[in-house]
């Protein structure tokens, strides 16, 4: 497939695939879907599921026929742990990734060599799309090991031909030394870690605009608001592009923003994208928020059909000034399973973050704690003070009041606001923990 690298002036990494018309995309998808379904019959799990539902691969005659196929869930992956869903003998697999099993069996994802090559091609396509070329130096400040953000970006950046630094997560001072010493031009990290890096730069007299060659940030793996992105861009003086990936699909690479920064292009030569109502599981119209459901089209080891990602988002459009007609998907609006239901109100942590980011008095870190006090469920939002801007209690109380009001307007509940000194909330160098639920569980 994509074995050669285009000339630097070309704006596409794989022009033929990236610039297909909608009709071409759909024709290719049908062909690849039929092949994938046929291939899935090698999987004990899918073979049984098709039989149970009286389905045959030949029943898939149009793209709409996809809806005849039952959804695959994370529970299915757990139930078939470790290898029961694979469609290829282990002998042909060369890599295994696994998610942490915090709520049950971990999920195992297998890859053949071809899967790894295609994964690298997707990541390379994304990085090329935002202007990175073989002359660039790419630093990957993402966890390596089982977390796909490490090796996924590593192989993708190498595939593009960049000098790639596997800095991994943590050790901020060393990260900054690498950035300045190696002339890093592009950095990949989770958004909360970029903020952390900036703080450490500031404390050490490093100005990212003057003292580094950074021009592109790839941020993802952690839901973040547009306001947080803007804040990161202002801090670092570079463009920050949102990346979407999940280990079940391969890892990073599935979707990425182009320079328009108006939604993430999901690569429809690799995936079929559906957005469904998480309650009824019926498709929702473009523009409406629903759960993202993905079907892999090129995976050998472990194709997944109609996988429920639990990520909530919406379709923004199917064309783009950048020339790519691959569906544009909004930033993740939360997850259908991290939604907070408090006193009957549905709240997404991202809504709270969006409001908090509007207060320049606050730092980026926050923690939402849900408690039951005398049979009332309450929310406490702890926020870090960026600077002590006053030594007058009444002005601190006033700030609390303004935050409380702004949050009430957004989430319709009045949370308790607790100002805390900067640096006192737990900063994780992986995914930030934003919600702690200590409520009584009613049976």
């Amino acid at each position: 497939m994509e074995k050669t690298i285009p000339v630097d002036s070309c704006q596409y990494f794989n022009e033929a695939m990236e610039t297909m018309t909608r009709a071409e995309i759909e024709a290719l998808q049908l062909q690849r879907l039929q092949a994938t379904v046929e291939h899935c019959m090698q999987s004990p799990f899918y073979k049984k599921r098709f039989e149970e539902n009286g389905l045959k691969p030949s029943d898939i005659k149009t793209l709409d026929d996809l809806r005849k196929i039952p959804f695959t869930t994370k529970q299915d992956l757990r139930d078939t742990y470790p290898f029961g869903i694979a469609s290829t003998p282990l002998r042909n697999c060369v890599r295994l990734h696994s998610s942490s099993g915090t709520t049950g069996n971990p999920t195992v994802i297998l890859h053949t060599q071809k899967d790894l090559d295609e994964w690298a091609n997707q990541v390379a396509r994304n990085l090329w799309m935002v202007g990175l070329r073989p002359d660039d130096v790419f630093q990957n400040s993402s966890g390596y090991g089982m977390f796909t953000g490490g090796l996924g970006f590593q192989y993708g950046a190498e595939r593009l031909g960049m000098l790639t630094v596997p800095a991994a997560a943590g050790n901020s001072l060393r990260q900054i030394k690498f950035i300045t010493d190696f002339g890093t031009t592009a950095l990949h990290a989770v958004p909360s870690y970029v903020t952390r890096l900036y703080e450490v730069m500031k404390d050490n007299g490093v100005d990212p605009r003057k003292d580094t060659k950074l021009k592109v940030l790839a941020i993802g793996a952690e839901p973040h608001s547009e306001e947080q992105r803007k804040r990161i861009e202002d801090m670092m003086g570079v463009k920050a592009y949102n990346s979407f990936g999940m280990s079940e699909m391969c890892g990073p690479g599935v979707g990425f923003e182009c320079k328009e920064q108006n939604g993430l292009h999901f690569w429809e030569d690799y995936y079929i994208v559906e957005i469904v109502n998480p309650e009824t599981l019926e498709p929702v119209p473009d523009g409406e928020i629903g759960e993202l459901v993905l079907t892999t089209l090129c995976r050998e080891a472990m194709p997944l059909l109609r996988y429920r990602t639990r990520d909530l988002t919406r379709v923004l459009g199917r064309s783009c000034p950048c020339g790519r007609n691959h569906v544009r998907i909004d930033r993740m609006r939360g997850r259908s399973d991290d939604m907070i239901v408090l006193r009957g109100v549905n709240i997404f942590p991202i809504q709270i973050e969006k409001i908090l980011m509007q207060f320049p008095e606050l730092a980026s870190n926050y923690l939402i704690t849900l408690t039951t006090d005398e049979d009332n469920d309450n929310m406490t939002v702890e926020v870090e003070l960026e600077e002590l801007f006053t030594d007058d209690y009444s002005r601190l109380l006033d700030l609390e009041k303004r935050i409380r009001r702004a949050l009430k307007d957004e989430i319709l509940l009045t949370p308790h606001i607790k100002l805390v000194p900067k640096g006192s909330l737990p900063v994780s160098e992986g995914k930030a923990v934003r919600v702690v639920d200590k409520r009584k569980v009613y049976q």
Partner: protein, 139 residues
């Protein structure tokens, strides 16, 4: 004629005050007077010390939320009625006191005030020939 006071944002949690005091002590900063008012979740620890700017930099370097506040330190005789007199004069000039604390210093009473208007406070002090302390007095 104002002097610099450290205002430190402190979480109402075990160990936070100790951390600040340790930092000051290690840097050889001498605390002359300090006060803390408690609210439910946090407090502002206000400190007069011999080297406020140096102390501020050290705390800031160590990630403490700190501010240098301009306060007025009035020197009064250690006899009944002098504090009332001083406050009355300020009040008569329309100066509002945001907070006040006092201590004894070399046989004299010291009233530390943060007001809503430093210029007006200074004016009142000059017109009424009130005596005040400067940073040099504490250095």
């Amino acid at each position: 004629m104002t002097i610099k006071q450290l205002s430190i944002f402190i979480e109402n949690k075990e160990g936070t005050l100790t951390k600040v005091l340790d930092l000051l002590s290690k840097a050889g900063i001498q605390i002359i007077a300090s006060t803390i008012a408690d609210t439910k979740d946090y407090g502002i620890y206000r400190v007069l010390c011999n080297q406020p700017t140096q102390a501020y930099l050290i705390l800031k370097e160590n990630g403490i939320n700190v501010q240098l506040a301009d306060v007025t330190a009035l020197s009064i005789d250690d006899v009944p009625g002098r504090a009332a007199e001083a406050v009355k004069k300020l009040s008569a000039s329309g100066v509002n006191i945001l907070y006040l604390y006092s201590f004894l210093w070399k046989g004299k009473g010291v009233l530390v005030l943060r007001t809503d208007n430093n210029d007006k406070t200074n004016e009142t002090i000059i017109i009424n020939k009130m005596s005040f302390l400067t940073e040099v007095d504490f250095a």
